[in-house]
């Protein structure tokens, strides 16, 4: 229910933004900056770069704002543009993945199924070891709450493929936690 309300709020903000309302842009920024930065971090593994990319993503969102059609969900549209920004960044700079400075990233709520695996630090450290495709699906579906249909729309894959990737990535993540003795961490938390 809360997710639906949030989405409706984003749709309203986006519609007002298209009509030229600055406050609506500020509202969108405040609602989306943290999750966007988290998502972008999976590409660059660096907090500062992820923050820079988030700004660049908001600029591209501004340029592409006419391509959003209400009442479609806003977040797949936003993540698709941000993904494009991240891929362009990686392509142009051919940057190597840098240090795992996730501590400084803005907090996003960790859903219960991820929380059960381990604490946020463990989850993010181990997620970084997964293949990029798995990481992206985990981040979009399990951490940022997009449906598999929406994940498919962002990544250009079928929803079923997204589901399979998420399942495999989650399984690998759980195995890694077990190998690390991370299950104890999860047990302590619950």
């Amino acid at each position: 229910m809360a997710r639906k309300d949030d989405e409706q709020q984003l749709v309203d903000l986006m519609t007002r933004y298209q009509q030229g309302d600055t406050e609506a842009f500020t509202g969108l920024y405040q609602a989306l900056k943290a999750p966007l930065q988290r998502y972008l971090w999976t590409f660059v593994r660096n907090t500062t770069t992820a923050e820079d990319l988030a700004q660049e993503a908001f600029l591209q969102i501004h340029r592409a704002r006419h391509t959003y059609s209400s009442p479609r969900p806003v977040r797949p549209w936003v993540y698709a543009i941000s993904r494009h920004v991240a891929l362009m960044h990686l392509r142009s700079r051919r940057r190597r993945k840098e240090s795992l400075a996730f501590e400084d990233l803005p907090e996003v709520p960790v859903p219960p199924e991820m929380d059960r695996i381990g604490d946020a630090a463990t989850v993010f450290t181990l997620m970084a070891k997964l293949p990029q495709a798995g990481q992206e699906v985990l981040m979009l579906h399990h951490l940022l709450g997009l449906s598999f249909q929406e994940v498919g729309d962002v990544l250009g894959i079928a929803p079923g493929t997204a589901k399979v990737r998420a399942h495999r990535a989650l399984k690998t993540l759980k195995e890694m936690v077990t190998d690390q003795g991370g299950s104890d961490v999860g047990a302590n938390r619950s």
Binding site: K33, L59, T67, S69, P73, V78, A80, H84
Partner: protein, 219 residues
């Protein structure tokens, strides 16, 4: 946790250019615009160059009927191209190639059935020049459709411009093939495969390259 403030530089860049914008028309409506213009070009081609000499040997369902279905298949590809050009509405790669392959198989199947009804001139009697003229005709007929589609793709924000271009090129080529099916009297499978399917592959590749080059230029 306090709400993040918008960096001044970003806010300035946005407010300096914060004109109200009109959202893009739905994909189906923009596809209809393309189809309307294509239909005009194709009608002019039919009136200008006439129909194939053996049209009376071909049943209506196979001639006009199959052409109409091919035109609808082209509409599907053009719609996918326009959909692909909107962020967050990416077409799965497998679906795109499945649609393209299905259209090519349909084109070949129609060519084969037409050959069964009216074999027309033999492949051996055809020169390369004649084949090339078929391919050129396909390409020239597809060009207006392709240009409009590319323009509509570029007006959106394709994150995989090559893919949108490829689907647009394929859609334009399949649409023009719907008309050349009614104009080209050679139904030999080798002719259809080399020159007409060749035109579809060529235009798909041209669309993909155009999209790719535009994407690189934009970034």
């Amino acid at each position: 946790m306090s709400a993040p403030t918008v960096p001044e530089e970003l806010l300035r860049a946005v407010t300096d250019d914060l004109q109200p914008v009109t959202p893009l028309a739905p994909v189906w409506r923009r596809t209809l615009w393309i189809l309307a213009i294509s239909a005009l070009v194709f009608a002019a081609a039919v009136f200008g160059f006439g129909l194939r000499s053996d049209i009376q040997n071909i049943p209506t369902w196979l001639g006009w009927g199959c052409s109409a279905i091919e035109f609808l298949a082209a509409a599907l590809l053009l719609g996918l191209a326009l959909r692909e050009s909107i962020p967050g509405r990416s077409v799965p790669l497998g679906s795109a190639f499945a649609a393209l392959s299905a259209c090519i198989i349909y084109q070949l199947a129609v060519g084969y059935i037409t050959w069964r009804f009216s074999p027309g001139p033999l492949w051996e009697s055809q020169t390369i020049g004649q084949g090339m003229s078929c391919m050129m005709s396909d390409t020239m007929l597809a060009l207006p459709t392709l240009l409009i589609t590319i323009w509509l793709i570029v007006r959106a924000f394709p994150v995989r411009a090559w893919m949108a271009g490829m689907l647009g090129g394929a859609g334009a080529a399949i649409a023009s093939d719907a008309i050349t099916h009614l104009q080209c009297p050679v139904s030999d499978m080798r002719h259809v495969l080399v020159w007409h399917t060749g035109a579809v592959v060529f235009l798909s590749a041209a669309g993909a390259l155009t999209g790719f080059a535009w994407g690189r230029w934009r970034n």
